[in-house]
Amino acid sequence: MDDVLIGTLVASTLRVSVPLILCALAGVLSERSGVIDLGLEGKMLLAAFATASVGAVTGSMALAVAAAIVVGVALSMLHGYACVTHGGDQVVLGVAITMMAAGLTVVLGIAWFSLGGQTPPLAEAVRLHPLLTGVAGAVREVPVVGPTLALALFGHNAFVYGALAAVAAVWWLLFRTRFGLRLRAAGENPIMVDAAGVSVKGLRYRALALNGVLCSFAGGYLVLAMNPSFIPNMTAGRGYMALAAMIFGKWHPVGALWACLLFGFLDAVSIRLQGVPLPVVGEVPVQAIQALPYVLTVVLLAGFIGRAVAPKALGRPYVKER
C-alpha cells in the first residue's frame, strides 16, 4: 500500500511541478540577462487562455500551442519594448502585464464564449495523453520496486518529460554555449558585453523571447493537461511561486528544478495531510504547508540558509554611452 502512496505522490508532484518548472526556467533566462520578470503569472494566464480558446474553436492542438506561443512571445516583446528599449521600470511592467492578463482573459472569455469567463471544454484530441504506457507495463513486472517506479515515473504526458528536458536544455544553453555566456554577461556586467561589441539589448530581447515561449508552454499545460477548459485566474499564483522557486534555486536552472519539485511536493502533499497527525509536530494546518514555499524563500533571501545571489545588473536598464 505504501508503494502505491509513494508512487502516486511522486507522480502528482511531477505533474503539478511542470508549470512551475517551465515558468521558473523562463524567469531564469530573463533574469540572467538582467531583466526582472514579475509578469510570469500574467504571461502564463494569457497563454492558457489562448490555448484554451483556439483549442476549443479549431480543435487542433498544434494551432492551440502556436497561439499560446504567439501570445507569450508578444507579451515578452512588450516587456522588451518597455524595459529594454525604453528603460522602463521592470517591476512595474511585470505588475502591469499580470493585471492586464487577469482583466483581458475574462473580458474576452465572456464576450466570445458567454460561459462566465470560462472556455468550452477541450475535445479529447486537444488534450495531452500519457506516453510510455507500454514501458510502464513492462516496468511494473520488475519485482519489489517495479510497481512504484511504474506509477511514479512512467505514463506521464509529453509536457512532463519536456519540462525535465527543458531544464537540461536551458542549463546547456546558459553554461555551455557562447550565447549563454554572453546572456549571463549581459546580466552581470553589460558594459563589458557592450565593449566586446555584442548588443546588450539584442541579448535581452532574445532571452525574453525564450522566456515568452517557456511561459506559453506553462500556460498551455494548464489547459492541455490539468483542467480541460480555461477558468478565470486559473494560474492561481503559480507564476509567483515559480518566481520564488527561481530565487530559491539561486537563478540556476537545476536549482530551480529542485525548488519547483519541493514546492510541487508541498502542493501535492498538502491535501493528503489535511487532518492527518504527523509525528513530532502533530496535525499541520493545510495553510501552513501552502505558505511554506513563500516562508522558505523569504528566509533564504534574508540570508539565513545560504545566500541567494541575483545577477548583478538585474533590474538596471542598460543605456549605451554615447
Partner: protein, 394 residues
Amino acid sequence: MEGCIEARCGQPLRLALPVSQPVELPRWVDVAVLPAVNLALALAVAAIVVLVVGFQPTQVLALLVKGAFGSKVGLSYTLYYATTFVFTGLAVAVALHGGLFNIGAEGQAMLGGLGVGLAALGLGPHLPMALVLPAIVLAAALFGLAWAAVPAALQAWRGSHVVITTIMFNFIAAALLGYLLVNVLKEPGNMAAETAAFAPSARVPGLHEALAALGIEWPRTPLNLSVVLALAAALAVYLTVWKSQPGYAMRAVGFAPEASLYAGIRPPRLIMLSMAISGALAGLVGVNEVAGAHGRLLGEFVAGAGFTGIAVSLIGRNHPLGIVLAAILFGALYQGGAELAFEIKGFSRDMVFLLQGLIVLFAGAMAQVAAPWLARLVGLSRRLQAPPPAPRAG
C-alpha cells in the same frame, strides 16, 4: 561587495520614480499633461478592446459615468471604493518616495483587517463607541505596520529585495488569514469562513447614519465615515512627506541614496520609516472594509485593492492630491463597471482590471515613452510662438 542582491549594503534598489523624467518638461506638462496623456492612451487601448468585443466605447463610457455619478447611491459607492484606494494608493506612494516598491499593500491590508476584527470582537461588546473606534483604527494601522516591518527590516539590514519579500508576504498573509478565519475566528454554525457580526459600538457609522443625525436624508450604502479618515490620511501624508524633517530625509534616500549617505542620513532607519508608514496606511483599508462596509471580518475583503493602489499612486504622481483624484477615478471605474455589467449583457466588470493594468503600463512602465514626444511637441510650439529671428544686417 560581491554578488549582492542590489541592496546588501542597506541600499534599497533604486527604482525609477516616475516623477524623475529623463526628459526635461515644463512643470505644468509634467504634472498635468503627461498623466492625462498616459491615461488617454490607456483609455484608447481599452476602447479598442471594447470595440473588439462588440460594444460602443462612447455608449459604455456614458453608462459608466452615469452609473458612477448619476445617482446618490452610485456616487456613494464610488466614494466608498475610492476610500479604500486612497489608503492603498498612499501606501504605495509613501514607500516609493523612500525609493521602495511596496507590492505588499494587499497583505498589509489583510493584516489591518485582522487587527480590526480582533479589536472589534474583543472590545466591541464591552466598551462604548468613543473608545472602540480609536482602538480599531490603531489596531488596523499597527497590524499593517507590523506586516510591512518584517520585509522592511530584511531590506534594511539583510539586503533582501523588498519587492520579492512583500510579494511573498502577500501569500503568507492570505494563508494566515485563511487559517485564523477557518480554525479560530469563525462564527460557530456559519457555513462561510467569517466572524460573527461586530457589536454596534465597533462599527464605523455609515454616511447615511451620520447625515441622518444632521437631518439630511441619504440612501443606505457601504460608504462610511472612513472616507473622512482617508482625507485626513492624505493630509497627514502631505505634511509628513513634504513638510517634516524625517519626510525630507525619506525623499532624499529615495531620490539620491548615495548623496543622502554623504548628508549623514542612515538609509536603514529611513527604509523602516517609509515602510512602516506605508504598511500602516494599507492597514487602514480594514477600517473602511471590515469595520465600515461589512461589519465582520471575512477572507476576501481586500480583493486586489493593494494592486489597484499601485495604479492609483502612479496616475496620481505619488502626490496626496493626485492620489485622492485618482482614487475617485478608480472608484468610479469600479462602481460604473459594476453597473455596466448589469446594464449590458456580455460586458464584464473585469474590463476595469484590464484598464487598471493598462494604466500601470502607460503611466508606470512606459512613462518614459511618451515624455520625449511631449517634449518635442512643447519645443515645437515654443518655436512657433517665438518671434521669428530678426534678419541679419548686412
